[in-house]
Symmetry: C2
Subunit: 275 residues, 2 copies
């Protein structure tokens, strides 16, 4: 019951479901369930760290990265996904610079990613979502890097609304577009992105903006006339042909069925080493 | 002095400059200057009305139009540019439906276009800017229609930041992308979009959002940690190959040097009818 309710909170994402299943398999023994949850957490932390290690290969000194939403340690344990390679690059002295799209309607970029990057001491600059394609066009972005909520078996990527538009712009200007994710984000039971349900959230998220007032207190403003209707698709699907590669804990693989099969083979081999 | 200062307020747009030049040519006689301003205004009103008449041809019953920023009568006298065909279609009983992108950072879509469409009784729905490409991908948009701040001699279009991303998405899904503008927006002295200066506005516009509080009073919230840096390019350039056509007061023409030359020929012929 509780697991079903939690799963319903994120119909698009798939890691939460994997975690719930791992814990549910240990039911009803509370100690076993807690141990399963801790083991799942440990695996996710190790996966995020490994994503950082593999993604580091995409960085040169001063690489300018465009990201979207929050895929750092506020979202994914310890390292994050898309930001894990950025943090590795920063610690390696490569001085990456991150262009953060604000990510309306919930502003995860402005509110979470900008805060997290400041805590990490990584150079960054905030932009309105609508400015991303322009900066790519002007040659101001070397690499687009996002996380994913679900990756289909063919490599299609569901991620925060706005990701698809960035992928189109990156492709138009031959800027590499990488998606960082643990293998738990890859749903081999979903053939293509067309099968991924897109969560429709409350119109109120579009009609209002949350922030802080001049005194630093949480505040909310309404930005449209009262009674205005709004549409709020929370995710979109980027077709695999626009994805340069998937940064996984077992290496960077093509966003194709073959690339994904290869990633799972490597993970399996790591769990059961031959000889 | 005053004209130069006014011109500097909109380095990207070109109609304002044309109006200032028309008035300046009548200087220093105040009455002549006022008459010149009124004549310029009359021409712009007539141009907007004619844009509506020509653009109506793109509408079928229930056409779903994606627009961006505000190009209605709050921005351009009496009819607007991009919204002029929408209003014509509504009055013709075609029941158009407008998807309004909020247009961060200044939210002209949410604050102006949504209000204007409500006043006109035109069905509309607000979206976050990041949702535009997704809706186009899902087949929920029949026509993308924007105004322009400046059109280069080759047909490249400078318009509100975010326009280029919409044009890329429209092209990817074969959705027509039209730009509505009076001939005063076409700057034949600018060869291509690369020559159009892109105004960089205050980072504060990105870092804060203006709206109203629960009591309906103007209010502003900060959306990012204090001290966050922001980039705020206010316009972008859409290359002419992504523009299906220009809706001008003298008809719909291709967004090419030849199409633009044809528009000016028609305008000239209308001013000086042969025989």
């Amino acid at each position: 019951m509780a697991a079903a309710r939690l799963a319903r909170t994120r119909p698009t994402a798939v890691n939460l479901r994997a975690g719930l299943e791992a814990v549910g398999a240990a039911a009803p023994d509370p100690a076993a369930m807690l141990a399963a949850a801790r083991a799942f957490d440990d695996r996710e932390v190790a996966a995020a760290a490994a994503i950082g290690t593999h993604g580091l290969a995409l960085f040169r000194p001063g690489t300018r990265v465009l990201t979207h939403c929050n895929a750092g340690w506020l979202a994914v344990q310890d390292w994050g996904t898309a930001l894990a390679p950025v943090y590795r690059a920063a610690r390696a002295g490569l001085a990456p610079r991150v262009v953060v799209s604000e990510t309306r309607p919930r502003l995860q970029g402005a509110r979470l990613t900008a805060w997290e990057l400041r805590e990490e001491g990584v150079a960054h600059v905030l932009i309105a979502d609508a400015a991303a394609a322009h900066l790519i066009q002007r040659g101001e972005i070397d690499l687009v890097l996002t996380g994913a909520d679900r990756i289909a078996a063919n490599g299609d990527v569901a991620n925060k609304i706005g990701t698809y538009g960035r992928a189109l712009a990156a492709a138009a200007h031959a800027v590499p577009f990488y998606v960082a994710a643990p293998l738990t984000t890859i749903d081999r039971g979903t053939a293509t992105g067309a099968e991924i349900p897109i969560e429709q959230r409350s119109p109120a998220e579009v009609l209002t903006v949350e922030g802080v007032d001049e005194a630093g207190r949480p505040a909310r403003v309404r930005i449209a006339p009262e009674g205005t209707e709004a549409l709020n698709p929370a995710f979109d699907v980027t077709p695999q042909r626009l994805v340069t590669g998937l940064i996984t804990p077992v290496g960077i693989v093509p966003a194709t069925a073959a690339g994904i099969a290869e990633a799972f083979r490597r993970a399996e081999a790591a769990r059961h080493p031959a000889g």
